[in-house]
């Protein structure tokens, strides 16, 4: 049985989508309805649904951010009321998205696409959407103009300001408030977000591999795929493994 999650901050809309899905795809089980991005991310991690309908504008994390953090096999259908750029990006990448208010035949089309993708996946293939999702997220989360390249990170600690050369950074990892700058010799905390950092760094050298993680390719030692086909990275000079979210797994295909 296929399991799905719905995330929308407006309860009536989530309920309506659930009703419509029950009519058009009775075998689909709705495992959870989340009312904000953070709840959606946590539930996806915990329940590992096959499919998630994510509203883009939500309190807490946006639907795009939630998608950037998915590590498992959950397919994403974005739902939005109006977002010209998002719609353009999806059209271009032929991803699944739904415009609110949606019509029944449009929802049917989405269901067909999702079913086809799930069948492909069950047969052991990756869906063509995976690669495009990263592109779309990349377009939507980054600003239009590339600002100047960063050469140093300045992190204050008490009365000191440490200057760290970008080439010494193994990776950046963000939590709620801070971003950790990891070097071989230790870590520093800064306030700049992953998205802002990604905009200012050389995309050839720094790869975003997760909503919260940006790695320096020069220090990538190895990758590992576990039995449920999740991808992990090992970084030189760092003991633990880093996780790669689904949208970015394709980046490591050719290696």
């Amino acid at each position: 049985m296929t399991r799905a999650l719905i995330a929308d901050d407006e309860p009536q809309l989530a309920l309506y989508l659930q009703e419509q899905l029950a009519l058009l795809w009775p075998e689909l089980e709705i495992v959870h309805i989340a009312r904000n991005g953070n709840e959606a991310a946590a539930s996806i991690e915990e329940l590992e649904p096959d499919l998630a309908f994510l509203d883009i504008q939500m309190p807490g994390m946006s639907g795009l951010e939630v998608a950037q953090g998915i590590e498992g096999d959950t397919l994403v259908v974005f739902v939005t009321a109006f977002d010209r750029y998002a719609v353009q990006a999806f059209e271009h990448a032929a991803l699944d998205y739904l415009l609110k208010p949606f019509k029944t035949d449009r929802l049917l089309r989405t269901i067909e696409r999702v079913r086809a993708a799930l069948t492909l996946r069950a047969a052991g293939h990756d869906t063509p959407r995976d690669a495009r999702l990263a592109d779309v997220l990349h377009q939507l989360t980054r600003g239009p103009a590339p600002p100047a390249r960063l050469r140093f990170i300045r992190a204050s600690q008490g009365e000191f300001v440490h200057q760290v050369a970008i080439s010494d950074v193994l990776f950046f990892h963000a939590d709620e408030k801070y971003t950790v700058v990891q070097t071989a010799s230790g870590e520093h905390l800064i306030r700049t977000s992953i998205t802002e950092l990604a905009e200012q760094l050389d995309p050839e050298q720094f790869w975003q591999v997760h909503r919260a993680t940006l790695i320096n390719l020069n220090y990538l030692a190895s990758t590992r795929r576990d039995e449920s086909s999740r991808l992990f990275l090992r970084i030189k000079g760092y003991a633990r493994e880093l996780r790669v979210s689904r949208a970015y797994v394709h980046l490591f295909k050719a290696m």
């Binding site: 901050d9 407006e10 309860p11 009536q12 809309l13 309920l15 309506y16 009703e19 904000n36 953070n38 504008q57 309190p59 807490g60 946006s62 009321a81 109006f82 977002d83 415009l99 609110k100 208010p101 949606f102 989360t141 977000s193």
Partner: protein, 365 residues
Amino acid sequence: MKTISPIQLAWRSLWVLKKHHPEPLWAQLAVGAGLALPIGIGMMLINGLLRGRLFDLFSCLAVAYSMLAIKRGIEKLLSKSSIEAVSQAGDWRAALIINAIAISGTALGTAISLSAYSWHSGADGWDLFLTHTAAQTVFLAFVVVIAVGSWSWWRLHVKQDTLLRQAMEAQSRLLQAQIEPHFLFNTLANVQSLVDRDAPRAKQMLEAFTDYLRASLDQLRTSDSTLAIELTMIRSYLELLQIRMEERLRFEIDASDEALAATLPTLILQPLVENAIEHGLEPKIEGGRVCIRARVLDGRLDIRVEDDGLGLDSARRPRRHGTGMALSNIRERLHTRYGPTAALTLTPQALGMQASLSLPYRPQA
């Protein structure tokens, strides 16, 4: 953006009283000379006042620069606020001052050139002037021409200014009355979702939406409104959102009867409430409350829009469109309408944001 040369700037603000002029002094002097020289040459051609032909040119320059000097002197002497009060378009006091500057400048310039003539030629220029009725007539004619010229220039300026302000006001009203597509489609989606399951609630929602749409279209047609009308529209907006956001939104509207009768420009308050929702409460996981209070105090209308949302933290989140636009739009409209006597201030709170609007109280007639 088109750049404006200093000369153009100087030309535009030639007769405008300002504490600080953006254009450099040389541009002002150049424009002064540019006006004085053709007149001087004209006078030379019809052989003017004081025989010495080049002297006509000199006296015209003296007159032009005397006017500039007197104008700068007045600008330096008066305080910034009184200059602003005087230079409000359509104010007769400004026209009077401009005319006084023009006439006293003419008198001073003529006096200077007469003295210079005496010093230069050894003859008594003053005596020549006082004994020649023709010279005095020419001087008087000159004064009249200058007075009429500056008066008509002033009338034209006021007219242009009023038209420009009206056009700007209409444009910014149009911008603010625009219904945000995200809001529109989400509301429609909610009606769609309720129509089968909860028809009475769908009906209630459609009604609130209709009220809101009608009110915002009405606002487009007028530039003045009362607080009572504005608050009715805001109430239907908030009721709509409450159906959508459920327990995540609470609101309170509290206005004294005196405040309700106040007149104010349309759609000044609505964007502040929308901001509180869009940047404060909508992105906050647990939601919160927005509170609108209006009072009349010491002849002023004070309106406060408070929310306990994300406040400054919302700046860290990328949103659909900037607050900056709406706020600068409101500030501009307040300034056109009330000059320096109205203010909009945003104060971050421990929790959320407070927007406060203060303007002169003008009750509805």
